[in-house]
Symmetry: C2
Subunit: 183 residues, 2 copies
DNA sequence: TTATTCATGTAATGGGTTACATGATTAG
DNA sequence: CTAATCATGTAACCCATTACATGAATAA
């Protein structure tokens, strides 16, 4: 069954799009906003990439235009074939576990390349950023839990982001302690 | 001071290379192995990318050939200018916090796109992978701690990888519980 | 009516991946 | 002597980013 291209490439962006459309039908413009607002720490993709991908997916029958709106707006929805491809990819295709994260890279290099003083300064700045992100997400989750159950898919997804932020915060904290132990 | 190109692009790979060279001088071949073996969850980069980058960095005086070996081998080392550029980037340049991780993407989509049964199966497979990685790293850290202090830079870097693996494991566990609560 | 947001795109450029090429050195 | 590993690269292709273009709808 299927595959998205002749050559067996991975093409995660196409699957990311199928995945977002499995949550709800959306236009290219809305997808771009989802990538920017809810997925920037997961899968980064912008506007000019998306339209060609949507055309390809439509051409191969994985998605279809489910509604036309004002300003030339086309809302796309998954077809059964698209849903099948998404399931196939999630269940049967071995994940590519490589990553490319500037945040992790900087954390990794921090203590090799910087003096204790510089490292502590950068560490504190980073910790603040992650703390703000963590707090924002935590209170959003707390509010949402009044309306949706914790086993709701959105809650499960937020939980992942929260745990990754916590991991970074824990590391910042522990690293501060280790660097201070050097002095 | 400086910057790596005329146009103010980010060019993290060049900084990743400067960072690895700040740990120890290395050849292109050795750098490729470091990226593959110690950084695959941080910054992915391969062989054919590295040689042009090394030439560019050498041309701009950020690194220099510090030793020639057998088989045409050139070992590169940071110059003071390279060390300065690396510090500048780590301390003064605002990080790009976007990521592109297929692992996170799959986790994010898992419960939206799959049945409880499929989701639990995938979740268990993932948990096993992360558990193996976590255990391997944890015992490596335990061994190493007999020889190096916990404030050693290598230990600090390993600690980050360990915490990220723990975050994934915690999420797998919690998500399993949440999905079972649905049934 | 003017500015903003919505909405879809194209073109040029740059970065990343795959496949391939070449040959030296070392281990068995 | 043969296979594996070390070591450096090139070429073609694909993917991603930036800048730009266009125009419709809505809010002030």
């Amino acid at each position: 069954m299927s595959g998205l291209a002749k050559t067996e490439v991975d093409l995660s962006l196409q699957h990311a799009v199928l995945g977002l459309l499995s949550v709800a039908p959306a236009s290219g413009y809305e997808l771009a906003k989802h990538f920017e607002q809810t997925l920037p720490r997961v899968w980064h993709a912008q506007n000019p990439q998306l339209y060609p991908v949507l055309s390809k997916l439509a051409a191969s029958g994985k998605i279809e235009v489910s509604a036309q709106g004002p300003r030339n707006r086309s809302t796309y929805a998954l077809t059964p074939a698209g849903r099948g491809e998404l399931r196939h990819w999630l269940v049967e295709v071995e994940p590519d576990r490589t990553m490319r994260s500037e945040v992790y890279l900087r954390a990794f290099l921090l203590t090799f390349a910087l003096s204790a003083k510089d490292a502590l300064e950068v560490l504190d700045r980073e910790a603040k950023v992650w703390q703000r992100e963590r707090d924002g997400l935590a209170s959003f989750i707390a509010e949402s839990e009044q309306f949706v159950a914790p086993h709701d898919s959105h809650m499960i997804a937020y939980d992942l982001t929260l745990r990754l932020a916590d991991a970074m915060l824990g590391w910042c904290d522990e690293t501060r302690r280790r660097i201070e132990a050097r002095l």
